[in-house]
């Protein structure tokens, strides 16, 4: 309980992952879904850093986590740009009301 080990971090990351999935499933706002994605990305990064630490400070995990942050930034940039673009075109970013494309 009072000795923090790898498992503690893994379980915490799993919780963040599941909260992220729940956010994605229940939000209907495009940016709201993006919040869920960020939580999942953080869960993955936390896993990587924890593994890196408990493998004797292996650097690879930290480097991948760093690239994970870069990817999150690039993805957020393009997602926000697309959301703004959709808002300019249709004045809504509600995923449920975006139903022009059906079939």
């Amino acid at each position: 309980m009072w000795t923090i080990g790898l498992t503690h971090y893994l379980i915490l990351a799993a919780m963040l992952f599941c909260i992220g999935v729940a956010v994605i499933v229940t939000k209907r706002n495009a940016i709201g879904i993006l919040f869920g994605v960020e939580l999942i990305l953080n869960a993955g990064n936390l896993n990587l850093v924890a593994f890196s630490r408990y493998r004797g400070a292996d650097i690879a995990g930290q480097v991948v986590a760093m690239f994970g942050i870069v990817l999150a930034a690039a993805e957020a940039a393009i997602a926000v740009a697309i959301v703004v673009n959709l808002y300019n075109a249709t004045a809504t970013i509600d995923v449920d009301s975006a139903t022009t494309l059906r079939g």
Partner: protein, 210 residues
């Protein structure tokens, strides 16, 4: 509700700051030392902040409030990085993620917010179904994580230095590093193109408004 959120957010910001200070000053001591308890307390505090702000994102419908909660969560995760002796990564998390990416998302929220647009929610049964799925997922994940024998080495006391990470980026990870720079260049151009109002279309939009 509002008060609880305010407390969570304040706790998140403070713990992130405390984590920064703590991580920067004291490298993580070996496991046998007397500060194990201190480490545990720090871990549980950050974990609580991260989880509570995650849950707040889940239940709150206000996007601005969500952004602040995400800030607290990111700060808490940065604190955990410091706890894991990944000082550089913790700093990057605070500077790039909390300071850059989140601001970007905030811009997105501001540019697309409309009165009433943040009140949209899924139907009740969908939320319940989502909750059940996630709890099941969590139980399954935990079982998998606990059943697996993760090969662990005794954690070293030394925090990873910035120099080590930098050297890795310029030797073993040079190729992904360069690829990431191409990715960022392409994305910069793509994102700028999408949000920019063209000359002619901007004029037309103005005409529409008149």
């Amino acid at each position: 509700m509002r008060h609880a959120l305010r407390w969570i957010v304040m706790a998140g910001v403070w713990s992130a700051l405390a984590g920064t200070a703590w991580g920067a000053e004291a490298p993580v001591p070996p496991a046998e030392s007397s500060s194990t308890i201190l480490e545990a307390i720090a871990f549980y505090a950050m974990a609580a902040v991260a989880l509570l702000s995650g849950l707040a994102i889940l239940v709150s419908r206000n996007l601005v409030r969500n952004v602040v909660c995400l800030l607290a969560a990111l700060g808490a995760v940065a604190g955990l990085y410091f706890l894991l002796a990944a000082n550089l990564l913790g700093a990057i998390q605070l500077i790039v993620y909390a300071g850059g990416t989140l601001v970007l998302i905030t811009f997105g929220v501001m540019l697309t917010s409309r009165p009433g647009s943040d009140r949209q929610l899924v139907r009740g049964w969908e939320r319940i179904a989502g909750g059940v799925v996630c709890v099941t997922l969590f139980i399954g994940l935990c079982m998998v994580l606990l059943c697996t024998e993760w090969a662990t080495v005794a954690a070293s006391a030394e925090p990873t230095t910035v120099a080590a990470v930098g050297r890795a980026l310029l030797t073993d990870y040079l190729v992904p590093f360069e690829l990431a720079s191409v990715l960022l260049l392409v994305m910069l151009i793509g994102a700028a193109y999408l949000v920019r109002r063209d000359g002619e279309s901007g004029a037309e939009d103005d005409a529409d408004r008149c």
